[in-house]
Chain length 462, copies 2
């Protein structure tokens, strides 16, 4: 099936179609640069020309180029095209660099990413220009560890309006993503003598490990068909929850249970950490307001730009109870650790209304994808139930008992990256075994969406 | 001396001239916003109009506005002028916000800052546009914990060329400023069982405290008229040095001592951390190459954009020995913690030559300031010797023994912020007492430079 082609003096062994083409092209070009067959500074043909030459889709070439630019093998500059990167440094005394990025599957439905192609480059640049023009000189200096006042002010307004958060700019801490924010909170908890944090039976290993690394034991709360059950909250020092949209199961914390969590916090002095990672994305009814609105003195609200805009911005925010602000700012470090320009740009982006417009646009887009997914599944995999579809950027597909591993193997065979539900289960969770897939339908770019959907359906039991 | 004026319905008690005017105006406007006498959304007069009305310099008004924008009381947007910020959040249940920023002295010669007015806004924006246009979609996702490959590649070329660093993009770790980088290194050292770090007798308390917080004891090396003496390096686990330009004393580590440090590292397996905070700024001879060039397997090179561009970017970089890369990337966190867009912009800024042009331009500017400072001191304070003048953004003024405290009091009387040499002495340093001032001559904006110089000379012994 493989046929060798010679282009640019590079031997390309490409399959005539399918997901292997991009990877084959990327590997061949990378190897040619690494071995020096493509010399530094060499200009590559345009993606259009190379695609025509190879008889493959132009997107495939463009994607391969983009991968290699990202890896640092090629450079792309407006007006001078794509070139082999200059490596002016003598590496003679060093071991040869290994390829950095393991080859990626053709289709990606791993949850946790928005569609990166939707990043509003032009609008962001406009906001950056306005922010950079208006920025006072002192914004280029060492900043308040809480983050730029402009951004905290814009966030306070936005969070009050859109998420029902009782926010005051003085109590907001800008962080470099939710993990950074959680690390800051873990340091604050440890400094106050905390030892255990209640978590949900389903969630992200990285969060549990981060808390564990900080010296905090994570104890899972029971999970039933109504979601996380806070009934077992007793003497834990804090609880980490996703009340608006349980990750990954997708439900909303019931009103009675919301009240029970806040009651526990008031009674014991425990701290509630509300991870509102995708609160902007609700499709079928009104957004669920933040738990923090019930009691801003006992709940830390955590939001992020990672789902609504892009993880690459590395911007998230905590709204803190008054007595934690100083400690959290100290735990973050003596001065601000987030770039001032991105903070000012996001402040401008929110204040100008561009953030709301962007969220509305991508919400519509994701809703269409969700609808297509549900329709396709009903037709092609009727034994599979999609749950948690009312909100967010992912669904859980419940599988017949005992089939999860087989489905994951079938997915790998289809060159599809997707995660099983077991991966999100806390190792100490006392839950009935549930087989399922967690499907992040926002992840693929448009051109790969139908392919990803086809690969998924092919992997599911009929 | 104070005379009340009524403008905007705001009582302004202003001294007719001098450093108090800006503070008085800032305080009065802040109070008017806080108490609601200036309602949210109110448009303020232009700085020109208000200055004419009050009979004060337009810059003073512009600075007061900028301070209040920075503090979040006012907003400035192109085309809609300066307005009272919207505070849509009800703060009824919360204590009233306290003023965030203590009143600042009129003149600032505290070291550690470049002239923030020199930030190349237009060039940076151009680079941001090119970077944002060329960025592959994946750059908006969760990134390599080492930082963007584009930036690491650009830095490797620049550091090899400009600082003699033996750099490989694979071994560079982008961090959010030097303090963040030092925190990462401290975590790596602790994980390897390290207990003590040798430091210089003079340096920054914040660095020693950061190491102490990580569980590492700092032990000062002797300091003599030839600078830091590495002769007492024995079984310490690491040494933190400023070889190109001792901070704050200003000398260069002697060639023999450079060799001795590297010999120690090779003999004992100790780690050398080279803090090259202002290596770009040398005025009287060739730059001193990085110590790391002598032995990239035992020296960690640390550079930063904080002096050459602006601390607000929060970008610094480590060039690591091969065996530390994985651990350091893990200590930084599971994914990148620095914003991708600023990283891509800096990569573009370096690759396009704008970084070199900017450094040349500000070097000339700082050299002129240094010359003016030295000339003025020779004329107006002949008993004071300026040392460490060959490089960097600060000098040390040696004072007659026993006079430092009196000079600091006189400086405060002149409304001048400046630091005494004792502040930079390690608490355990066995050094002869030295009286002096550490003068950061890059800090003031142009319009405040002559005033700062006058205030300094007035505070010094005649």
């Amino acid at each position: 099936m493989a046929k060798p082609r010679a282009t640019l003096g590079v031997d390309l062994h490409l399959e005539p179609a399918g997901p292997g083409v991009r990877r084959g092209l990327t590997d061949a070009l990378r190897e040619a640069v690494r071995t020096g067959r493509l010399a530094p500074g060499t200009r590559l043909p345009s993606s259009r020309a190379l695609a025509a030459d190879l008889g493959i889709a132009r997107n495939t070439v463009a994607d391969a180029y983009a991968d290699l630019v990202a890896e640092g093998w090629l450079t792309a500059r407006q007006g001078s095209g794509t070139r082999v990167a200059d490596r002016t440094v003598s590496l003679s005394s060093l071991p040869p660099p290994r390829p950095r990025v393991p080859s990626r599957p053709a289709y990606d439905l791993v949850p946790g990413l928005p569609d990166l192609a939707t990043f509003p480059r032009a609008e962001w640049l406009k906001a950056a220009r306005r922010a950079l023009t208006a920025a006072p000189n002192e914004s280029f200096g060492y900043g308040d560890p809480r983050g730029r006042a402009e951004l905290r002010t814009a966030l306070a307004g936005y969070l009050a309006r859109a998420r029902g958060v009782r926010a005051d700019p003085e109590r907001i801490l800008v962080c470099a993503g939710f993990s950074h924010a959680l690390r800051v909170l873990a340091a604050v908890l440890r400094a106050r003598g905390a030892r255990t944090v209640a978590v949900e039976s389903y969630g992200l290993h990285t969060h549990w490990e981060l808390l564990g690394d900080a010296g905090l034991r994570t104890v899972p709360l029971p999970f039933d068909e109504r979601g996380t059950d806070p009934g077992e909250l007793t003497d834990q020092d804090a609880v980490l929850l996703t009340p608006a949209h349980q990750f990954p199961m997708g439900g909303t914390l019931h009103r009675d249970r919301r009240a029970a969590v806040v009651d526990w916090a008031r009674r014991t002095g425990g701290l509630v950490i509300e991870d509102d990672y995708d609160g902007e994305f609700r499709y079928d009814r009104q957004p669920v307001g933040a738990l923090q609105g019930l009691d801003p003195d006992h709940v830390v609200y955590a939001g992020t730009a990672s789902k609504s805009l892009a993880p690459g911005l590395r911007l998230a925010w905590l709204v803190l109870p008054p007595d934690l602000v100083t400690q959290a700012a100290r735990a973050k470090g003596g001065s601000d650790t987030c770039g001032a320009l991105d903070q000012l740009t996001l402040a401008e982006f929110i204040a100008s209304g561009a953030y709301d417009r962007h969220v509305r646009a991508v919400r519509l887009r994701y809703r269409r994808r969700r609808d297509a997914l549900v329709t396709e599944l009903a037709r092609r995999a009727p034994r599979v139930t999609a749950t948690g579809i009312a909100a967010g950027l992912h669904v859980v597909l419940r599988l017949p008992p005992g089939t999860e591993q087989a489905v994951l193997r079938a997915a790998a065979w289809q060159d599809l990256a997707v995660h099983g539900l077991h991966r999100f289960q806390h190792p100490e969770a006392a839950v009935e075994p549930r087989d399922g897939l967690v499907v992040g339908y926002a992840t693929p770019p448009d051109h790969a969406w139908q392919g990803a959907l086809d690969a998924l359906c092919a992997a599911l039991p009929e």
